[in-house]
Each structure stands twice: as C-alpha cells, then as structure tokens.
Amino acid sequence: MGTRAVAAPASQSRLVAILHRGTPLLFAILLVSAIVLIADAGPVVIQRRVTLGLIYLIAVVGLYVFVGNSGVLSFGNVSFMAIGAYVSALLTMQRAAKAMFLPHLPALIGGAEWPPLAGALAGACVAAVVAAVAGLPLVRLSGISGSIATFALLVITNVGLGNWTSVTGGQQSLMGLPIYTNLWIAFGWAVFSLAVAFLYQESRSALALRASREDEVAAQASGVRIHRERLVAFTISGFLSGLAGVLFAHLLGALRVDSFYLDLTFLITAMLVIGGMASLTGAVIGTVTITAVTEGLRQLEAGFQIPFLDLTIAAPAGLGDALLALAMLLILLFRPDGLAQGREISWPVSAGRGSQPSVE
C-alpha cells in the first residue's frame, strides 16, 4: 500500500496508466467477487450473511462518498436508508397487502404495484432528493457542528417516520414486502456503488472537496465552492444510502422504523472509521473486516464442535455483541487512522503517471 507520484516515462502506455489509476476500484471489485464466488458455493446461511454484508458495503460506500471526501462525519445517512426502504416498499408491495396493513394510505400509492427495479430506483432517487434538499442548510456547517446537524436529521427522520402512521405503519412492523434481494443482485449493486463512488472521487468536484477537507480556508481562497461541492457529494451519498436501504428492505421482507436508528448508524460509521474514512479502499476493508469479525463471533455464540472430541463449546448469547465492540476498540487503539490509514491501494512497484497522490 502507499502511493507515490513519480514523473512517468513518456513511453508508458495509456492502458497501464488507466490500470494504475483504477487500482482501488479493481482491488475492491476483485475482493468482493472472490468473497461472493466462495459464498455462492457455500450453504444458504452463509449466502444470506454475505448478502447482508454486501448491503452494508453499499451503505458504507455511500457514507464514504460524503464523509471521506468532505471530512465532515455524517450521522444522517441511515435516514436516507430508511427513506429508500420505505419508498421502495410502498411502491412494490401488493395492493392487497397494503390495503390490509395500511388502510389509510393515499390512493395514488395504495394502488401502485411497481416492478422491483423501478421501485429500487425510485427509492434511491427520493433519498437523493431528500439529501439534496436537507443538504442545502446542512452543507453550510463544518466539523462537529455539521456532524450534529446530520445527527439532528437522523432524529427528525426517525420521529417523522415513526409517527406517520398512515403511511409507514408507525411503530409497528410493515410486512409483506416482496423478497428479491439475493447474493447476485446485492453483488451487482455493490459493484455499481463502488464504480459510482470511484468515478465520483476521480472527478474535479471531488478533488476540490478533498482540498476543502484538508484546509477549508485555503481551498476557499483557491476558488473552491465548498458548499456546492459538499452538496453534490451529499446527494450522491444519499442516493447510494437509499439504495442500500432498498436492498435491506427486500432482503428482510419486513420493515421497522427503529431498525434504521442508532445501532445501524453505529455499525455503518464504525465500519468506515475502522477501515479508514479517507479512502475507498478503507471503506471496503472496514466493511469486510467487521462483517468477518461479526460472523466469527456469531459462530462462537452458535457453538462449535472441537474436532476428535465429543464436545461443543458455545459462548453465552450476547457475548458476541460485547466482543464486537471490544474488537472495534482494539483496532482503533492500534490503528487510529483506520486499517487503510487513509490511503488507496496501489501497485507495489513505482506508480506511474496515473497514480493519485494521496493527501495525508
């Protein structure tokens, strides 16, 4: 790991330059593909866990698009997940199911029965629009004030959805969603999200935004329109988070407003920070690591048999949650800047013209 910007020899072919430049995306896609291929051959339980892991990956990448590039920690992205989830659920559920669970739904939504893809795109788009509108005031705030404002957004969304009984069912679970998210669908959307995040971070807008992350005053003095660039990132971030929410909803088949609150926010933010919030590589590594640790601890709780002995050892239920928090803390103690330390992965040999100088 580690990038260096070295003047490239003129003879270096364009293809190699593109390959160099695309390394983080290539690495992420290869890693995820490998995991998915292994899981595909495994038992159904593992497939489901990996599917959930891929949905988390989309959410973490969505969070990364804003947090990684702007440097402002957002606690509001889970509310976009909730919005995506509910919009897609309401548009794709069968009319009969809606008539039963939500009798007071406006006729326009009550009569809708969209195909899954249309529902997914609508969910993500509505989340993006909400992000753009909510972002108008929020992007004016930097640092910890910005984080608290996004946290306020999370609370407002939670209270709003939780009490808007006629549309969301309020505190009760909304059931009867079509279940279509599987390993390969989640994989497809994960690759899509990684590509969106990567293409965005290669853009001029993201470069300007990262400049403001390093030094707000200097960036402003150099002509960076910080608020506008932040809003662009926040909107894309809202879209991807909304998408993650949609897939989450159609994996579980039932929705509860409180599934999209502090616990999920903690998990998604921890994955990003533990991986290293300043690079796409970090977002991917963080998600994979935490998902793997969670899964390992779950196995521990389920109990495992010691080979050659007729003995099964199981940890008490609930220990896994405590150990997960402990593991997160230990990783932070040893790597305070995250596992990837804010850098993108690159070729071990001297990088060429295409390499992206990383700002420490």
Binding site: L73, P137, L138, R140, L141, S142, I144, S145, I148, A149, F151, A152, L153, V155, I156, V159, G160, N163, V217, L262, F266, T269, A270, V273, I274, M277, P316, G318, L319, D321, A322, L324, A325, L326, M328, L329, L332, L333, P336, D337, G338
Partner: protein, 295 residues
C-alpha cells in the same frame, strides 16, 4: 392559569437542569481532550444500577454507591480506552467512545438482562408540595436546587482552586498548559472523575423520577447532552450548561404548546430548532476562545 404556568415553568427548569448537568459532563471531557464522550450515558447507567443494588438498604448507601460506581467507571474507561488514543483524530475518538459505550451496555445486558427493573428510590420526592397555594412536585424543587448548587460549586472549583485553574488552562491550550507545569494525566483523570460524579447525580435524580433502571437509560440523556454542548459552544462549560438548559426548556414548551396531534413529533421540532441554531451560530451560542481557527 397561574398554576399551569408555574407548573410548566417548574417542569421546564427541572428538565433543563437535568440536561445541563448531563451536558456539563460531556463538556468537561471535551475541554481537556477534544473527545465527545458518548460513553457518558453508560456512566449514568452504571450509577443507576448501583442505586438499584443499594436502594433497599439505605438512601445514603445508594447515593455513595452511585457516586463510587460512576467515578470508578469513568476512571477505568479513561485509563483503558482513551489514554492510548490521546491526540487522535476527533472522529476516531468519537467512534472509540461509541465502541466503549456499546461494550459497556452489552456487557451489562450479559449480566443483568435487557429488561427494565423497578427501583424504589426516594419515593418521598414524588409528593406534591404547595408553595403559596400552587402545587409543585417536591422532586422538581430538589432537582432545581441540586442543579443550582452543583453549578455554583463547579464554577467555584474552576475559578478559585488550583486544580480548577489547571483544568481551564488545559481546555484553553493543552500544550502550553503542559509546558507551564500542568500534569496531563492528572488533569484529564480529574476531568473524568468530575464527569463521573456529574453522571451519578444526574442518574440519582433521573432514577428518582422514573423509578426504573435499564441498560439503555443513559442513551436519551447523552444524546441530548451531546447536542446541547454543541449548540452551547463546544469547549465552553457555561455554553454547555446553557445549551442543556435551553434544550430542556424548549422540549417542555413544545410539549405544552404544540397541538395534540403534533405532540408525537415533539423531538423532531426540538431538532429542527437545533439545526436552526447551528445555522445562525455555527460555533454555538457561547463560542469557546481556544477553538477559534487562526488563519
């Protein structure tokens, strides 16, 4: 009419006081090490369970037990988790404190279970007392008096004692304070101990009011405290207290002024006000001197 106004005012001031004490606990730690300690809520919870343990024996036992539990827990998390991370990125510190909070909470659930437990602590305070013919709950008067006493004691400590001076110096500029002979470990440990004591007092008042303890009881308070310190002005203790107080007062006013069918959305309105305050004063109502960015 007058009676309603006085009762709403008593509600507002006592809730504001409780929130102000919670916010001070977070503000103190932020001052000395730029850490927003999300695990402060779990100190409140720890003190709550100490009350549960000792309440049947005597009130004094319960109070001492709560103080000891919260202070020890505060010192322990400082030593184990936050000391090695001193000087790390604020986002890392915040996530670390999230992790500490989840760890404490899940460990507690492992031992005592997740269900709320009833605790009969100071039932005397539930009675109404009449002042000039107006009925107010005794607990509210106690809460208001305790808050006022703590605020006075804390400002005396910070302004008039050597350790208080060290703490203020550390909050203003940690490096220069160390150069002038302030011992970093001691000043930070002391801030954690005081924040633990504040958590215990909040917990005692809160437990007396709700009559329940449960593993997530500190969460609501810490969220409010977290927001209050920011709108009050991070790094400024008077700001933290003011922020907490205002959030409490706003909550009660919305509760009594909002029409019936909007009352469920009360929290949402409180947080809309929070965003509005932040937009008008991004550095908080009382900005701290040491935090202003120099260009």
């Amino acid at each position: 009419m007058i009676e309603t106004i006085v009762q709403v005012a008593a509600d507002a001031v006592s809730l504001g006081g409780l929130y102000a004490l919670s916010a001070l606990g977070i503000g103190l730690i932020f001052g000395v090490m730029r850490l927003i300690n999300f695990a402060h809520g779990d100190l409140i919870t720890a003190a709550g369970y100490a009350v549960l343990l000792f309440a049947s024996q005597s009130v004094a036992f319960a109070i001492v037990g709560a103080l000891v539990a919260a202070i020890l827990a505060a010192l322990a998390i400082e030593r184990a988790a936050f000391r090695p991370l001193r000087g790390a990125d604020p986002a890392t510190l915040l996530i670390a404190s999230f992790a500490v909070s989840v760890f404490l909470q899940k460990t507690l659930i492992l031992f005592v279970g997740g269900r709320p437990k009833g605790v009969n602590f100071l039932p005397v305070l539930e009675q109404q007392v009449a002042i000039l013919g107006i009925h107010v709950q005794l607990l509210q008067i106690v809460t208001i008096l305790v808050t006022a006493a703590i605020l006075i004691a804390l400002s005396w400590f910070l302004k008039r004692t050597r350790y208080g001076l060290e703490m203020r110096a550390a909050a203003e500029n940690f490096r220069v304070a160390r150069l002038l002979g302030v011992r970093a470990d001691r000043v930070i440990a002391m801030a954690f101990a005081i924040s633990g004591a504040l958590a215990a007092i909040v917990s005692l008042l809160f437990t007396a009011e709700t009559g329940l303890v449960q593993p997530r009881m500190g969460l609501q308070l810490v969220i409010v405290a977290f927001v209050s310190t920011v709108i009050g002005g991070l790094g400024n203790l008077a700001g933290a207290a003011l922020g907490g107080f205002l959030v409490g007062v706003t909550t009660i006013l919305l509760q009594s002024l909002l029409p019936e069918d909007l009352r469920a959305f009360r929290e949402a309105f409180v947080f809309i006000v929070v965003i509005a305050v932040l937009l008008l004063r991004p550095q908080g109502l009382l900005p701290a001197r040491g935090l202003r960015e120099r260009v």
